[in-house]
């Protein structure tokens, strides 16, 4: 990977971290204004946020543990290797696995996906990979805490199935342009 390519995600990441702070700060400003205009309602809002916060604390702790386990055992190079396995059944299953275990913001993955495609990876495995990023093992504790494990189980299975359908259709219709 060239220097230019490797530095681009860093620049985007640093910009993104700044944007990330703007949103909560803006919400705090809104709270500040509301505390002046309607202090009682603003207090109700703050208490309500406090409750949501308390409910999410334990699942968040589990999120960190799962993140750590994934970071210990899964390396980006392994994911790229899984993705480059072709458009057969094995390749698709490996793309599903790669999408599920991949972490970090999507813009970090785009340059890698571009490179993979330039090396011959098809549209189907890339589309399957991108769809399966909707399955987040490290966020399962939070999702289960909110919606229950039955719902999470069903949605996960259907997401994986839909990813294959999506990949197949993208592969079919995008074929004429990108091969």
């Amino acid at each position: 990977m060239s220097m230019e390519k490797s530095q681009k995600p860093k620049r985007v990441a640093s910009q993104s971290s700044r944007y990330m702070l703007i949103f909560p700060l803006l919400v705090l400003v809104i709270y500040g204004v509301l505390f002046v205009l309607t202090p009682e309602q603003a207090l109700v809002a703050l208490k309500s946020s406090g409750k949501v916060c308390l409910n999410i604390l334990l699942p968040l702790a589990l999120v960190f543990v799962v993140m750590l386990v994934l970071n210990l055992f899964v390396k980006p190079t392994q994911i790229v290797h899984l993705l480059g396995s072709g458009a057969n059944i094995k390749g698709i299953l490996l793309s599903v696995a790669a999408g599920i275990i991949s972490m970090g913001p999507i813009y970090v993955w785009y340059p890698l996906l571009k490179e993979l495609r330039e090396k011959g990876a098809g549209n189907m495995p890339i589309a399957v990979f991108l769809y399966n990023r909707a399955v987040k093992p490290f966020l399962l504790p939070v999702m289960i805490a909110y919606f229950g494990w039955v719902y999470v189980g069903i949605l996960t299975v259907l997401t994986v199935l839909a990813s294959v359908v999506n990949g197949y259709l993208v592969g079919m219709f995008a074929k004429t342009k990108t091969g």
């Binding site: 703050l46 999410i56 999507i106 785009y110 259907l158 995008a174």
Partner: protein, 265 residues
């Protein structure tokens, strides 16, 4: 027996340099004859590749023992993997250090096999430290937006009435799913935020169909990331993929809720 010593100068009267691989010289000394060969390290001031070069030199010269002040875990691992015993915390004049070694002043120490086990532990510790750092960074990255979303949920709960929401989410399954999918496609960020928002919508009486569509499209369709996807993977691919994801969110949402209702009764 040949011993490699990190040295400040290319002679036996030199002091032992503290760091193996980054020392100005590496001396390979024959303990029988005290003849020596010196390798000047041109990369002593830059870390890149200097350790590896020193390791390769030591292996090539048939060195059995390395004496130095400090050795990084990676270089230590490479040396002991090649059967070279490493003794650290060594300081003083090179000639005196060799005499001390010959006299057994450094003790028996660990065998090469024991050092190999130690090296594995070093590497594991290194991997754990990196994983911890990476997880902490990812976790901290989630927090600002999540805090903002949690605060917004508070505002939402306090200021948005069920009647106002009912004007958007009318109870019509298909329309509700489309609204959910639209919100999910426009909003972006870590999916954890979609779960928090989805749970808040459920509490306000919005159906699971719409919430599921929101959760599904939150990651699969990203209007915010679309320019980046177009730039990397092409206009046709990005638009086609996003449009198909949006359409697929409808059957996924319907099937998820139908199967859930079937299972839970």
């Amino acid at each position: 027996m040949k011993i490699a010593i990190s040295a400040e100068r290319a002679d036996l009267a030199s002091d032992v340099a503290h760091r193996f691989g980054l020392s100005p010289y590496l001396l390979v000394v024959d303990t029988e004859t005290m003849d020596f060969k010196a390798l000047a390290n041109p990369r002593a001031t830059s870390q890149l590749g200097a350790g590896v070069r020193a390791v390769v030199f030591a292996i090539g010269e048939g060195v059995e023992v390395v004496l130095t002040g400090y050795c990084s875990p990676a270089v230590y691992n490479q040396l002991v993997s090649n059967g070279i015993k490493v003794i650290t915390n060594v300081s003083g004049m090179v000639k005196e250090v060799i005499e001390k070694y010959k006299a057994g002043d450094f003790g028996r120490g660990l065998t090469v096999e024991e050092q190999k086990e130690q090296a594995t532990r070093y590497i594991n510790r290194d991997i754990l430290a990196r994983a911890l750092k990476s997880s902490a960074r990812q976790f901290v990255n989630i927090l600002p937006i999540l805090i903002g979303v949690v605060l917004c949920i508070g505002l939402f709960n306090a200021f948005v009435s069920k009647e106002a929401l009912a004007s958007i989410f009318s109870g019509n399954v298909v329309l509700d799913i489309l609204w959910g999918a639209c919100f999910g496609s426009i909003l972006a960020g870590n999916p954890i935020n979609s779960y928090v928002i989805g749970a808040a919508l459920l509490n306000h009486g919005i159906g699971l169909f719409a919430v599921t569509a929101l959760i599904v499209t939150w990651v699969t369709v990203g209007l915010v990331q679309l320019p980046a996807e177009i730039a990397s993977l092409g206009l046709r691919f990005a638009l086609l993929r996003s449009a198909l994801c949006l359409v697929l969110a409808i059957p996924v949402a319907i099937l998820t809720v139908m199967i859930l209702n079937f299972i839970t009764g």
